[in-house]
Symmetry: C2
Subunit: 559 residues, 2 copies
Amino acid sequence: MIHAFIKKGCFQDSVSLMIISRKLSESESVEDVSVMMGTPANKALLETTGFWHDDFQQATPNDICVAIRTLADDATVTQQIVEQLDAALVALAQGTGNGQSLVQVKRWESACQKLPQANLLLISIAGEYAAGLAHQALESGKNVMIFSDNVTLDDEIALKTRAREYGLLVMGPDCGTSILAGTPLAFANVMPKGNIGVIGASGTGIQELTSQIALAGEGITHAIGLGGRDLSEQVGGISALTALEMLASDALSQVLVFVSKPPAETVRHRVIQAMKASGKPVVALFLGYVSPVTHDENVWFAATLDEAARLACLLSRVASRVASRVDTCAPAAGGVLRGLYTGGTLAAEASMLLASHLGIEPDPQHHHGIMLDAQGHQVIDLGDDFYTVGRPHPMIDPSLRNQLVAGLAQQPDVSVLLLDVVLGYGATDDPAGPLVEAIAKAQAGRSATHPLQVIATVTGTERDPQVRSMQIAILEDAGIAVVNSLPEATLLAVELLHPRPVHIAKSTAALLEGVAVINAGLRSFALDLQAVDTPVVHYSWMPVAGGNQQLARLLERLQ
Amino acid sequence: MIHAFIKKGCFQDSVSLMIISRKLSESESVEDVSVMMGTPANKALLETTGFWHDDFQQATPNDICVAIRTLADDATVTQQIVEQLDAALVALAQGTGNGQSLVQVKRWESACQKLPQANLLLISIAGEYAAGLAHQALESGKNVMIFSDNVTLDDEIALKTRAREYGLLVMGPDCGTSILAGTPLAFANVMPKGNIGVIGASGTGIQELTSQIALAGEGITHAIGLGGRDLSEQVGGISALTALEMLASDALSQVLVFVSKPPAETVRHRVIQAMKASGKPVVALFLGYVSPVTHDENVWFAATLDEAARLACLLSRVASRVASRVDTCAPAAGGVLRGLYTGGTLAAEASMLLASHLGIEPDPQHHHGIMLDAQGHQVIDLGDDFYTVGRPHPMIDPSLRNQLVAGLAQQPDVSVLLLDVVLGYGATDDPAGPLVEAIAKAQAGRSATHPLQVIATVTGTERDPQVRSMQIAILEDAGIAVVNSLPEATLLAVELLHPRPVHIAKSTAALLEGVAVINAGLRSFALDLQAVDTPVVHYSWMPVAGGNQQLARLLERLQ
C-alpha cells in the first residue's frame, strides 16, 4: 500500500530529490519511496507509476510529495521516513558537498552581491520558469546557459535576440554541455588544453567530439553549447553566430569545429559564411547532411563525430606547426614547393592532394617521373625508370636524391620541401642520416630571407631494421617536421607556403578569460563547479508565489 | 683525369657494384670511382656523367667497367683500385653477409637441386633478361616475383597468361614489395601478424598501407604485389584476380585491402566483382578514382592510403570480434537490435549509420525519442523530453535505462544491444556498474539459443571523475564489446546480426603456407631472406652469351 505525506514550501531540485529517494528506499521497512516536487507533470507521473495518493491533490510546485510503498500498514514507517527526509534536507541546507561548504543564497540580488564578478548564470530549474530568470540575468549584463528543456521557441528567440543586442551569449535552452576557459558546465568532460575551439548545438555531440579529440592526443580551448534549436529557421542560429565570432577573435582557438543537426538551409548558408569569415580552419559536422564537397575554402565537412574529431586534430597539428614555424622562421610566402619522393605511390598521392589544395592539375604525362609541375611547384618520383637506369632504386641508393636536396641551396625560390623516408628490408641502412646532411647543405647555402622548410613522412615500422622511432628522431633533431600521413604533410606544405593572414585579433570575449557562475537549479552542478575551483554561488531558486504563474506575474508588475 | 680498366666476364648486380663503388671512392688518392656492368644503358650513362673512357667501347654486359677520376697522373692509382676491386669480388664470391654464408649457384638446375622445395623465383636482374628467366621458373612450377622494370608489356601478358593457366602467380614486373607468410620480399616492412590481407599494384602503396596498419596496432596475413601495369586494359588484372582468389580462400585473411592506380574501367568492374565474390570485407583504394559511393556491398572505397589503412583496421577489429563471438555464442541470426542511448546525438548518429547499413530509413518523427524503428530494430534517445519529465536526465539518473535493459530478459528477439556510457561532470558517478548488473539480469533471463550481445561506446576521458579506463574495464569484464566509435559499434552490430556465411575455405595456396626462394639478381635480397630465416639459394645469374641476345636465342634453340 501507499503511504504519503507532503512537506510544504520546501523547493528542491530533481537530482537532490532523486538522491534522497534512493537513500530513503534503502530502509528495510519499505519497498520503494518516491520523492518529488508537486508540479503538475510530476503529479501525472506519480499517477501513472502507481505512487498516487489523494493527499497530493493540494500540493503546489513548492511542496515535496513523498509516496511510500510498503507492506507495513503502520504509521511508524511514515514517521521514520519523515525524520529521514528532514535530516537529508538539513544536510542539503547546510550546503555540504565534497567536504566543502557551498555558498547558497535565496535571492537573485544576494547572488549578485555575493559574486559581483559573476558573468554567467547556469539555469537548470523547470523549463517553464527558465526564461524569466534568464531575462533577469541578461538585464544584469550576464551571459546565460540554460540546461532546462521545455522552454518555448518564442522565449528562446526573445532571449537570444536581446542577448545579441547586449553583446551577450545565451547557450540553450536544452544546452547540456559547455566548457569555457577550462570550466566544465553541466555535462562536460575533463579535457586537455589545446588549440581547438568547439561549438555545438548538441550536448553529447560536443562530449563525444571532445572525448575523441582527447583520445587522439589533442586538446581544446573552449566548447560552446548552443541548444538543439539554435540552427532552426525560426531562431536563425543567433547564438551560433555569436559563438563563431567569439572564437574567431580568440587567438588561442586556431582551429574550430562545429557540430549540429542539419540546419535550415538559409541558416546553413549564414553559418558557413561566418565560418569562412573567421579565417580559421573550421570542421563542420551537420549530422545527416551530406556535403557535395570535402571542403569549401577553409570549411571542412565531416560525416560522423569521429571523422570530425580526426579532421580537427589533423588541422590542429598543422596549425600548431605553422604557428611555431612562422614564429621561428621568416615566412615562406611567395616560394614554391618541391616534392622529392623515392616511392612512386607516395609521390602520386602527394601530387593528387597538393593539386587539389593548390587548384592545379597533376601532370598526366609523368615524364621523367614528374608527377606535378605547375606554377613552379614540382613533385618528382625518383623511382621512375628514368632515374634507375644503371643505378639501384633510390630506396637502396639515395645518393641521387641527396644530391638533388643539397642542390636546393642554389634554388632559393623553393621554400618547402616534401620528402618520404622509406624503411624496411631492401631499403638503405640509414636513410635519415645522409638525408639530414644533404638538407643541412641546402640550408647552409640559403640566406635568412629564403629559408627551406622540410616536411617528411616515414614509411616503416618499429620492428624494421632501421627502427622507425630512431629514424624519426634523427629527422626531428635536424628540425624536420615529421608528420603521420600524406594528407597532413601536404596540408602543412600548403599552409607554410601561403600562411593565413594573421587576423588582428579583437580582444577575447571576457567570458573566455574565465567564468564566475551563479547556479540556479541542480545543486550538483554548483558542487561540480566548486570541485574545479570555479567561483560559484548557488541561487536556491524556488517558484515565486508557490508556482502560481498568474500571481507571480502580478507580483512582478508590483515591483 | 679519368683512368679506366675492364674486368672481363664477371657479372655482378648493381647494388653490389654500388657498394663497391662507394668503398673504392673512399681511397685517398682518388676523387671518385664508378663501377658498372658494360650494358649499353650503363655505357650511355658513363658518357653523360663524364666517366667515359674509350676502353669501354669493347666491354660486354658481362664485363665490369671501372672509371677512376683522380688528379694523379700515375698508374699506381689504377693498380691500387684493381687490387681493391679483386678483393671485394672475392668477398662477394665467398658469399658472406650478416656473418652467415649464402648458398650461391651459377646454374638454374643447380638452384632447383639445392632447394627442391623452392616455390618462388625472385628476379631483380636487368629487365631485358627477366622474362626469359621467369618463363623458365613457371615451366618448373614455381611462382615468380619480378622486381625488375623494363620488361615489355607483351612479355608481361605472356607470363601472366601462362601462370594463370598453370595455377601460378606472377608478381610484377616492377613489383617492389610483397610479404608472404611473414617473409619480406624485396622492399618490405616487418609487420605484426593480423587478419588483414593486402594486395597492391604499387610497392610503396603496400609499404605505406601496411606501416599505417602497424601504427594503428593491427597486423597483416600477407601482402601480394602485382606490378604497376597489372590493372591496365592490356594485362586485364590477371594477377589481381589470382591474388584475390588466393586471399579469399585463406581463412586467416578476414579482411582484404587493395591498392592500385585507377584501373581501366572494364578491369575495375572485373576486380570489384572478384572482391564481392570473396565474401569478405574489402577496402579498395584506386588512388585518384573517386567512388560515387562509400561502399558497394562488401567493398569499401577509400581515397588515400591512410584512410584505406584506417578503414581496414576498423573492419579488422570488427571481423576479429565477430569471429570470437560466433565461436563463443550461438549466432544471433534472425534477431533484431536495440539501441538504448542516453545521448541524443549519439542516438542520432547510430541511427543514421544503422539505417544505411540495414537499408532502412531513420524515423523522421522522433516520437518519444525513437530515432529508428523499422523491421523490429529500434534506437531510442532516453534523453528525450518524454523520458525526463519529473526525473533527471538519464546521464544523471540511469535507472530508467537500467530497467529497460534488464527488461530485455523478456524480449528474446533482441539479440544485439547498443549502448552509450557517458562520463564527465554532471553524469552519474559510476554508469558502468549498475549497467553491467542490468545486463546480467537481461542475460540471465535468456535461454542459450537466444543470447544477448552487448556493444558499448564510452564518451569521456581518462581525467574524468569516473576515469575512462576504469569504466571500460568494468564493461569488458562483463563481456561487453567496448569499441572506439559509433561507426565501429554500428558495423559490429550489423555483422553480429547477420554473420557472413562462412565460406567453405578451399585449401590455402601453398605459397601462403611458406616460401622458399631462388633469388636471381640483387644479392642483398637473398641476404635479407637469409636474415629472416627463409630458405633461399642465390642464383648468380649472368647474361648468356655475354649478353648477345641473338647468340643467346641461337644457343637456346640448340639445347
